[in-house]
Amino acid sequence: MDVEKVLKLAGLDIEGEEFLEEIKQILNHIELLKEVDVSGVDPLVCPISHSIRLREDACTSSLTVEEIASTSPQFDGRFFPAGKVMEGEL
């Protein structure tokens, strides 16, 4: 496992040895799945026997901007400040 790459994808910083050892234990445990013959089996994404029900495509009321903004300590009235996204010098 390319630890650095996975941590970057996961949005996490580099971790210590102990953490990586624990990850290794979990990965060893999931290796067990290679013992099972899965040829010809379709993946099961969601365990429901009934069909997914879609609601009518109609307008319904939703939360107001104020209600949604109330969950953010940073919302400035119009935007969520997020910091510089582009890499390198602008």
Binding site: K8, L9, L12, I26, K34, V38, I48, R55, A82, G83
Partner: protein
């Protein structure tokens, strides 16, 4: 004064005990709680709840105090998921399951402690510290809904809600000596439950007895436009012929606590006799792969669901300024605890290019085989009886340093969750002064069978 059931409580409240006094008895006990079962108790909000229902004496769950696991949203209350990352977050809406129980008369008493983002089997990964077992403070209450199970067991609330992804309602119910139901996937809306693993998460009641679990379930279940996986389908009902009680060999392995094994087998025999049916020995050979499938699918879905915690839109924002990506990485590394970070890393890995088919798709294929295996066994039995957990409540700290040992606490609960089946833990009795649970598993939409058999267990168990 304590109450053994919802029925007893409502009858006392209707016969002269004021609702205010009744709810405050619980609130007092909750405020004096010594097990760390609660994250938020707010008497002002509770008073508002009492006012809301007070005039409607005929409500079916009139004034029933309800504890809500702190990963289920209730407008006006914080939702922390026991994580530093959600510090200060107040959701602007209420979960459908809570809304329905409130409409029926329930009064929200507070938010209960849990493993961080419901990831754990002991409530030790909570940023607010572990929940202690009500029967032995040196032992865990189970998890992840440890706070809800403990609070009900201690009489600090009459009923509570938990969430069950791989066993998080049933295992703490077993460890705290209470009833815990995981409904069929799709019977109770997940709207307002903070997503951990969306194809597994279900909200379920934790109560003192089976009748109360049924009452809550009946009010919570049903179609919700805000969760497309919900179904209004009918229950399959009780079997028409003689009861066939299945006992799967793989759920009684040599490595487990032998006393639990013997007691659960004895209970299976006794309920079969009571019902005039038979115990049938069956086999579910893929059981031992259940935890591995659960690790892959649960962690993959968690890594995706938890990508939303970026410190921008809600919760803890960390230090301001600086480069976006660096800031997010630092914030998530400091904000998530070790167990959550481990699961995000493994989940990201199994979803990454080159490993997706090898791990994630393979796990989904084994998941189908697991489900098929259950469905096929249900051609020859009406329900399955198993232990809920392979051990009694373990010591605090005993499994914290060994994540795989901790995950194996779910060995008897993860497979049915992966298969989307309804299952319930009912107290089986005590060993060494500690409770253990008996698990009943039914086919999809078979909750009535769980309640019926669960009530028989309540009659025959060793108290």
């Amino acid at each position: 004064m304590s109450f053994a059931s919802i029925k007893e409580y409502i009858s006392a409240v209707k016969q002269g005990l004021s609702l205010q006094d009744a709810v405050w008895q619980f609130l007092d006990r909750a405020q004096k709680d010594e097990c760390n079962a609660w994250i938020e108790i707010d008497p002002v909000l509770v008073e508002r709840e009492i006012e809301r229902v007070q005039k409607n004496v005929d409500l079916p769950l009139y004034g029933v105090p309800l504890g809500v696991k702190d990963n289920i949203n209730v407008k006006g209350w914080h939702t922390t998921c026991a994580s530093r990352l959600l510090q200060g977050f107040k959701p602007p809406f209420t979960a459908t399951a809570v809304e329905r129980l409130r409409k029926a008369g329930c009064v929200v008493l507070g938010k209960t402690n849990l493993d961080e983002f419901a990831m754990g089997s002991s409530t030790e990964s909570s940023t607010f510290g572990p929940v202690l077992n009500p029967y032995d403070p040196e032992r865990v209450a189970g998890g992840s809904s440890g706070g809800s199970a403990c609070a009900v067991s201690c009489g600090e609330v009459l009923v509570a809600l938990g969430s069950d992804t791989g066993g998080s309602v049933r295992q703490p119910a077993s460890f705290c000596g209470v009833v815990g139901l995981r409904p069929t996937y799709g019977r109770v809306s997940r709207f307002g439950l903070v997503a951990f693993a969306s194809s597994l998460d279900q909200i379920g009641p934790i109560t003192l007895n089976v009748e109360d679990a049924k009452l809550l379930f009946d009010w919570m279940a049903g179609v919700d436009d805000r969760d497309p996986t919900t179904s209004g389908g009918n229950d399959i009902g009780l079997p028409s012929g003689k009861w066939r009680i299945g006992v799967p060999r793989e759920y009684f392995p040599d490595g487990m606590d032998g006393r639990i094994r013997e007691c659960v087998l004895d209970i299976a025999e006794r309920i079969a006799k009571e019902l005039g049916g038979n115990v049938v020995s069956v086999s579910l050979p893929l059981t031992s792969y259940g935890v591995s499938v659960y690790q892959v699918i649960g962690m993959a879905e968690a890594s995706s669901n938890l990508a939303r915690y970026d410190g921008v839109r809600y919760g803890w924002v960390g230090e301001e300024g600086g480069d976006f990506h660096n800031r997010i990485r630092a914030l998530r590394t400091q904000g998530f605890g070790g167990e959550v970070r481990r699961r995000i890393v493994v989940g990201t890995y199994v979803l990454s290019a080159g490993y997706y088919d090898e791990y994630f798709i393979r796990a989904q294929k084994v998941r189908r085989l697991l489900r098929d295996e259950f469905i096929s066994v249900f051609n020859s039995v009406d329900v399955l009886i198993t232990p809920t957990a392979p051990t009694l409540p373990f010591k605090l700290g005993e499994k914290v340093k060994d994540p795989v040992a901790m995950h194996l606490s779910d060995v008897f609960t993860a497979p049915s969750a992966l298969a989307g089946l309804p299952a319930m833990s009912v107290p089986g009795g005590f060993l060494d002064g500690l409770p253990f649970g008996v698990q009943i598993i039914a086919p999809p939409f078979g909750e009535e069978r769980l309640f019926f058999v669960g009530q028989r267990i309540e009659e025959v168990r060793h108290d």
